[in-house]
Amino acid sequence: MDAEGLLLSLELASGSGQGLGPDRRASLLTSLMLVKRDYRYDRVLFWGRILGLVSDYYIAQGVSEDQLAPRKTLYSLNCMEWSLLPPATEEMVAQTAVVKGRFMGDPSHEYEHTELQKVNEGEKVFEEEVVIQIKEETRLVSVIDQIDKTVAIIPRGALFKTPFGPTHVNRTFEGLSLSEAKKLSSYFHFREPVDLKNKTLLEKADLDPSLDFMDSLEHDIPKGSWSIQMERGNALVVLRSLLWPGLTFYHAPRTKNYGYIYVGTGEKNIDLPFML
């Protein structure tokens, strides 16, 4: 959610039960302002909170002029001092896929993972148990990256693409209408499109190239991994991800208010197919 409208956004996203305490909120308001100035971001988003056993991580993201460019991620333990996280790489994600369980809350904590590796020593081949140390920071980076890639969403029309390449915030975006707000196809993944080329020509003909340049949620696997609800009568549409429980996206139809926040343990819900 945008740091500009933090208070309103928190209020709108409160239906999921998780929010921020008043002290955290106050600290965020001040510190995010400073982050924006220091790092010269175009927009600062408060991404959410990952609950650890000892302490929680508060995550923020900075967006540059081009809205679709990779966002910089920062974390903080006390909502005041922010540290930049390294960008995620493929190896990081693969490496941390073996780590299970909760986050500790200490970025320097190391997970130990024993692997059986075949070691060639001369002519002998034997398996050796290798203990690999994985830092929690790496795990944090890869989890945030995964969540971003799979469930960070924005409504259709909020960003538009210029012919020169960069994506901008659409200043004339006035919100989705009510009928559009209930459809999964009106929401896009906030990332570089992956499936766009796979659409048929017929579908592509209907797309507006300046608005429809990202993947919509319609074809997400598994189907039914999003729960769309209208709260407060029809005044607020809330999407909750069932794949990463804790991700809440809210949007007030016909207004410019929208945003998403993740408050959770940072673990994927692999049991989703059983639970639907």
């Binding site: 209020e11 409160s14 239906g15 999921s16 039960g17 998780q18 929010g19 921020l20 305490g21 008043p22 002290d23 955290r24 609950l51 056993l53 006390n78 299970k100 369980g101 909760r102 659409n170 200043r171 004339t172 209408s177 009510l178 009928s179 039914g224 729960s227 609800q229 209208m230 709260e231 407060r232 009568g233 029809n234 005044a235 909750r240 069932l242 429980p245 959770g264 343990t265 673990e267 692999i270 049991d271 059983f274 639970m275 639907l276």
Partner: protein, 720 residues
């Protein structure tokens, strides 16, 4: 002069005057009427500007009159007049001088008057000349008249013979006028020619402008709009709103303007339909707020305050909010009012806001309620299906000749559910989807439901009658599953500070072998509170105050082996059972007794079962202790030393770091006793059959033989 007179067809004055072409375009000073009186005021106006011209006034006035006459657009001959005017001037030099002076003066005047509103522009040029003459005596209106005339004349240039019905584009006309006048100011010669040219034949520029305008006004065949109007409304909108970097969003603005045309008609209908649910919910919630206005307010108030069955939800919400947990103040207040409504409509002893369970389509708001003594509503007892399935004793089969093999499968006896007010059914739960909608009571939970709920993992859809499709099949629909989960969550996560509750003193009959432990407690009135720091640091300062649910599905152990007693009898904790005497002895299940500290809770694979936090590290002296359950994500408890509260907001599932694997179906059961009737054997081969038949025949023969020997001996010979 003669030429002049020819020009002044409609003019009364016939005096010669060199109304130079400059005057035509800029006759700000030229009087409306050719009459000398009007010229006087005109001269007066110009007086301050044109000092050295008093002497030229007399000759000037006729000039101006001539100018006026020349200004008549309907006089085609006027074009040639200026040219001819200049020739026969008796006093060319002073005239020229005066003319130039006047030009200078007029220029300044004109610019001033041009900016005057063109509101006076309206009527046809045709009418203007008679108007001019008539308005002569109206000297007061002269400045207007000046403008009038001045703008009228340029107008004549512009429209020529075309219609002058420009409704909205007067600003543009003014621009045209200034353009023209300034143009005419620049060079006298040009001016001499221009009026002539424009009046005789519209100039190339004018034609181009007219064509362009006509094109812009062309109505689109598709939409009925024209570009001119669209552009003007768009520019109006931009000028009104003044967005930043308007050029970047000009296309969107254009789209919006177009959409504004069309959406008006459909707006009312569509909006109504869409907003209907919002209004409905608002109506219901309005009813919540108005419920307080009942009759006999005073007495009711006292009653309400005395009963005190409603919890102080707002206070708890405040504390939870310190930790960042909660539903938002407004929503919580609505829930508060909904609870009040619940307590008003049902005879409730105590009520508590249990929490919120999220679902796929709708959510559940759960209230934990304890009815007043003796006010329980009777529940429909569901028939014990299991008992009827007992085939072992069925008598129907015995009538048949061919006895079917009897299965000796006996369904395990269904464990009866606990009586209300005890164990897992200690409280009654009400749910609603949104505050304002009606509360629905959830049925009591049976042990079987709890046992199976432990084996499945499902999301709630939000509809109470939705079926639960799972393996093992859940006996019931979503309301039963919801109730089972609520029971599990309560048993697992409802905690209180140590000492807040204590066992009652009257808990007699403390038998040695009491199973299940004590199940009642009461508030400790002498509770002094525990330091918040202690609450955070040590888990042993918190205890469970809800009974643990045994693997059987009940809180109090029920021995299913009761062959000697009636099967429908329910087990109370005071009753002794026959345990050791039965051959089938089942170990009674024992769980942690009531009021066990949570430090005894099992860890989940090295993860502590509870996470404790201080609500704020910045101001520790006023912070509260907040506990988060790791086993049931979404369960919270807070305490500020004296007060405490539990809350659950989540999806209603237990946490497990491993994947969920559904249980395997059991192996095929040996239902029937194996015997020759059902044992499988190979079909006999042909040889075996023949041998069998032969053997049988032999036996028959032998039997017959025996019979014969016993009978007549005479027949013996025959049977050989």
């Amino acid at each position: 002069m003669e030429d002049l007179t020819s020009l002044k067809q409609e003019q009364e004055n016939q005096e010669p005057g060199k109304a130079g072409p400059p005057w035509e375009g800029k006759t700000a000073a030229s009087p409306q009427s050719p009459e000398p009186e009007s010229s006087e005021p005109l001269e007066e106006e110009l007086g301050p500007d044109i000092g050295p011209q008093p002497r030229s006034r007399p000759p000037w006035s006729p000039q101006s009159k001539v100018i006026t006459s020349l200004g008549d657009p309907k006089e085609p001959g006027a074009s040639s007049s200026p040219a001819s005017l200049q020739e026969p001037s008796p006093t060319p030099s002073p005239l020229a001088l005066s003319r130039e002076d006047l030009v200078a003066a007029l220029r300044s005047d004109r610019t001033a008057s041009v900016t005057l509103e063109a509101g006076t522009l309206h009527s046809d040029p045709l009418e203007q000349s008679p108007d001019k003459r008539e308005s002569t005596p109206h000297h007061t209106g002269q400045p207007e008249a000046n403008t009038f005339q001045q703008s009228q004349q340029p107008k004549s240039h512009v429209c020529g013979s075309t219609d002058v019905s420009y409704s909205n584009s007067k600003q543009k006309e003014l621009r045209f006028h200034t353009f023209q006048e300034e143009d005419s100011n620049s060079e006298h010669e040009l001016d001499q020619l221009r009026p002539g040219a424009s009046e005789a034949v519209p100039s190339v520029l004018d034609t181009a402008i007219q064509n362009a305008k006509a094109y812009l006004l062309k109505t689109s065949s598709k939409s009925g709009l024209n570009l001119y109007d669209h552009l003007s409304s768009m520019l109006t909108k931009i000028l009104d709103e003044r967005p930043e970097n308007a050029v970047d969003i000009i296309e969107n603005i254009s789209q919006d303007v177009k959409m504004a045309h069309f959406s008006k008609k459909l707006d009312t209908l569509q909006n109504e339909k869409e907003m209907l649910p919002t209004y409905e919910i608002a109506e219901k919630q309005k009813a919540l707020f108005l419920q307080g206005h009942l009759e006999g307010v005073d007495q009711e108030l006292e009653d309400e305050i005395a009963e005190n069955s409603l919890p102080n939800v707002m206070e708890s919400a405040f504390y939870f909010e310190q930790a960042g947990i909660g539903l938002g103040t407004d929503e919580t207040y609505r829930i508060f009012l909904a609870l009040k409504q619940l307590t008003d409509t049902h005879p409730i002893q105590r009520c508590r806001f249990w929490g919120k369970i999220l679902g796929l389509e709708k959510n559940y708001i759960v209230a934990e309620v304890e009815f007043r003594e003796g006010e329980d509503e009777e529940e429909v007892e569901e028939e014990d299906v299991a008992e009827e399935r007992d085939n072992g004793e069925s008598e129907a089969d015995e009538d048949e000749e061919d006895e079917l093999p009897k299965s000796f499968y006996k369904a395990p006896q269904a464990i009866p559910k606990e009586e209300s007010r005890t164990g897992a059914n200690k409280y009654v739960y009400f749910v609603c989807n949104e505050p304002g909608t009606s509360w629905v009571k959830l049925p009591s939970v049976t042990p079987a439901q709890i046992v199976i709920a432990r084996k499945i993992k499902k999301f709630f859809t939000g509809q109470l009658d939705a079926p639960i499709i799972s393996y093992p099949p859940f006996p019931g629909n979503e309301s039963n599953y919801l109730r089972a989960q609520i029971a599990r969550i309560s048993a697992g996560t409802h905690i209180s500070p140590l000492g807040f509750y204590q066992f009652g003193e009257e808990e007699g009959e403390e038998e040695e072998e009491v199973e299940g432990g004590r199940d009642s407690f009461e508030e400790n009135t002498d509770f002094e509170g525990i330091q918040v720091i202690d609450l955070v640091e040590s888990l042993s300062n918190w205890v469970h105050h809800v009974q643990h649910i045994l693997p059987q599905g009940r809180c109090n152990w029920f021995n299913p082996i009761q062959k000697n007693e009636e099967e429908e009898e329910e087990e109370d904790e005071e009753k002794e059972e026959e345990k050791g005497e039965e051959p089938e002895f089942i170990e009674p299940e024992v769980g942690p007794p009531l009021l066990t500290p949570i430090s005894e809770d099992l860890e989940i694979q090295n993860i502590p079962p509870w996470t404790t936090r201080l609500s704020s590290n910045l101001v520790p002296q006023y912070a509260i202790a907040v506990l988060r359950s790791n086993r049931w994500p979404g369960a919270y408890a807070f305490s500020n030393g004296k007060k405490f509260e539990n809350l659950y907001i989540g999806w209603g599932n237990k946490y497990s770091p491993d994947n969920y694997t559904p249980p395997f179906p059991p192996p095929v059961y040996q239902e029937y006793p194996s015997g020759p009737e059902i044992t499988e054997m190979d079909d006999p081969s042909v040889e075996e059959e023949q041998a069998f038949r032969a053997a049988q025949e032999a036996v028959v023969l032998a039997a017959e033989k025996n019979e014969e020997t016993e009978e007549d001996e005479d027949d013996e010979d025959d049977y050989d």
